[in-house]
Amino acid sequence: MLSDSEAAELLSFLSPGMRADVKAQATEYFLGLSGHRDGCRFLRSKPDILAGLFALTSDISIAIVKDCYFIFINLSADETLHQVLVGDVKVLPGLLKNLIDPEFMFSDQICTILSNLTRHEKTCKTVFKVIQEEVGLAQVVEIFCTEGYNKNAKLHYLGPLLSNLTQLPEARNYILDKDRCVVQRLLSFTQFQASVVRRGGVIGTLRNCCFDHAHHEWLLSDAVDILPFLLLPLAGPEELTEEENDGLPVDLQYLPEDKKREEDPDIRKMLLETLLLLTATKAGRQTLKDKNVYPIMREFHNWEKDIHVTAACEKLVQVLIGDEPEEGMENLMELEIPEDVEEKLKVADAKEEQELEKEQERLRQEEEEEKKKKSDAEGTDKEQEDGLVR
């Protein structure tokens, strides 16, 4: 890596008063460095260089600013740098200030950085704290939900940011505040076609929020009505019987012939997990049964090809059509599981995962063989043709 004197020299090239071409060359160099792990680790030990680079995000040359933002995106992707970025360089206040500026050109890059910084709990807590101090989570949600807030940026990565933040109970409590309208504003984005990042972020947020079963009743009530928004991406154009149709939530009735299901299997799996979470309480189970979730799942099961997603679907269906648990065990989240049972369950889970992997491998191999057979066949055809020509 660089020697101390070389590092010091490069640092001097970053000072704002330097000539533009010198600054540009230096930032380009650091951008290259940040592109791989050793470079990042090196920079971790040089907080003054990082501070210099961060200062250049206010430079008048857009090219330099852009490079600097990409450097920080790379750096924030490495978990070991989070502490120095947030603690020593103190990037957060500056980033947040620019985020709420509707004219700012690099807001998408800011969102990506913030999303990276919130992946792990420790830094996530710090980020949440600073957000509350500087701009308030309310404003972040507002910006996210306002279409066209920033004409230079799409702000889709605020989705994963919110999803990451909701790993903290404080953030969940804010989103699920009954006296405000926060979670309701996120619901329509479960079908936002234009961005899988935004869609996934919102659904991840909802999934995290459903871990608190105390809120389930409110979430399923008319005040929020979360259920249709979770089911719509999983529902298809198949026609159901009149009886099944009448029991469905309003949004799922008379879906057009061209209705498409969610394309991303990971998102489909998240939706099913969220629904499964909502079956934890007796009231939740009853609501899902009453609203005819089962027929939707039945059609979905017929359509789904991915085995991991199918497994998640089957788990949900089991709860929907299975018997009610005995008294005292009705809230599945509040059960006390004895240690030996827990061990057995862990082993069973691991085994299931293994079997799914095997199944997936088998299917893959089958596909390969099919492909091979096809190309072999085509090869022989070609030989015959060639033979004829000769």
Binding site: D179, R180, C181, Q184, R185, V250, D251, Q253, Y254, P256
Partner: protein, 323 residues
């Protein structure tokens, strides 16, 4: 007493009350004032038992009231001058008119309230707070009269002056819901919640508007689905008729373009679009029509004519397979 009488009486009392001197301090000591006070009370008490002979009719009071002009009745001119003294600053005048409107509003006399508020706004007093209240109150009066569009316009005008005025925001949302423009209702609620994030009424209205909006969307989908089904049935029927090589007589169709023609232009093949099922439906009360049954056989309404016997026979559903 009507509000106008009441306010006139109040002013009369005020001007004649010794402790509330306005005009001439000297009059305070004159005993005559006390007498005329009592006289007024007695005079007014009469109306509790006696019916006023020259009262305006309950229905159609507008006409006689119009004839009660200041020109013909100088007393009225005096009184009006006192209340609506043009020398008073416009804010004061507007405020009196607002109070007057509010009085009418309390009595549920929304038409008169609207007139007062309108007059208050005409003063253009420059007090934005007051104008916002006048507009919001007028919106409320229109709302209770069922004039949703006017109410919405007034609420919007109030919102323009003061974008965070809670009552205007609530009223606007309510009007949109009544007008069934639910997406706009939600916009009003969202704007309101930006300034007042915890207002219960706004939260309630938003949830209601959302529910209605989604129900309306479902209804639209239902209609479309039924139309499509019906159209599909018609197409299969026409195809079955065409398959059998039956030509349908095309009557000279009047230039009206009913939904039939539109659907057919969109989806059907050119051949089918030349046929029309309208001509096949009977003009009879029975309303018998050609239909295709589950086994794929056509049933026709048939009219038998027996000219020799001067008789006719009508069979509403003659299956094509019967001999």
């Amino acid at each position: 007493m009507t509000p106008v009488c009441h306010s006139l009486y109040k002013i009369y009392k005020q001007h004649n009350n010794p402790s509330n001197l306005y005009f001439d301090p000297k009059m305070a000591s004159s005993g005559a004032q006390y007498e005329s006070d009592d006289g007024m009370d007695e005079f007014m008490d009469k109306f509790k038992t006696q019916r006023y002979k020259n009262a305006f009719p309950e229905e159609g009071w507008e006409e006689p009231l119009k004839r009660l002009t200041p020109k013909k009745y100088p007393e009225l001119a005096c009184l009006q001058a006192i209340i609506h003294d043009e020398d008073r600053p416009p804010e004061e005048q507007a405020k009196s008119l607002k109070d007057e409107g509010n009085e009418y509003f309390k009595e549920k006399n929304y038409q008169k309230a609207i007139l007062s508020y309108t007059a208050g706004l005409k003063k253009k007093c420059g007090d934005q707070e007051l104008d916002t209240v006048l507009l919001t109150n007028r919106a409320a009066a229109h709302f209770y009269l069922g004039n949703m569009r006017s109410a919405l316009n007034d609420a919007a005008a109030a919102k323009k002056i003061k974008p965070d005025h809670l009552k205007a925001l609530i009223r606007g949302a309510q009007c949109c819901i009544e007008l069934r423009i639910f997406a706009e209702a939600m916009q009003w609620c969202d704007e309101g919640l930006k300034a007042h994030p915890t207002d219960k009424k706004l939260l309630e209205l938003r949830a209601a508007a959302d529910k209605h909006k989604r129900a309306a969307e479902r209804d639209a989908r239902k209609v479309k689905a039924k139309e499509k089904k019906l159209h599909g049935q018609k197409e299969t029927l026409l195809a079955a008729i065409q398959d059998r090589g039956i030509k349908l007589l095309q009557s000279v169709k009047p230039p009206r373009r009913g939904s039939d023609s539109e659907d057919e232009d969109k989806g059907s093949s050119a051949a089918i679009s030349q046929l029309s099922l309208d001509d096949l439906s009977s003009q009879e009360v029975t309303g018998a029509q050609v239909f295709l049954d589950e086994q794929g056989s056509l049933h026709w309404p048939v009219l038998f004519l027996y000219p020799e016997h001067q008789q006719s026979d009508f069979i509403s559903a003659f299956c094509e397979n019967t001999s």
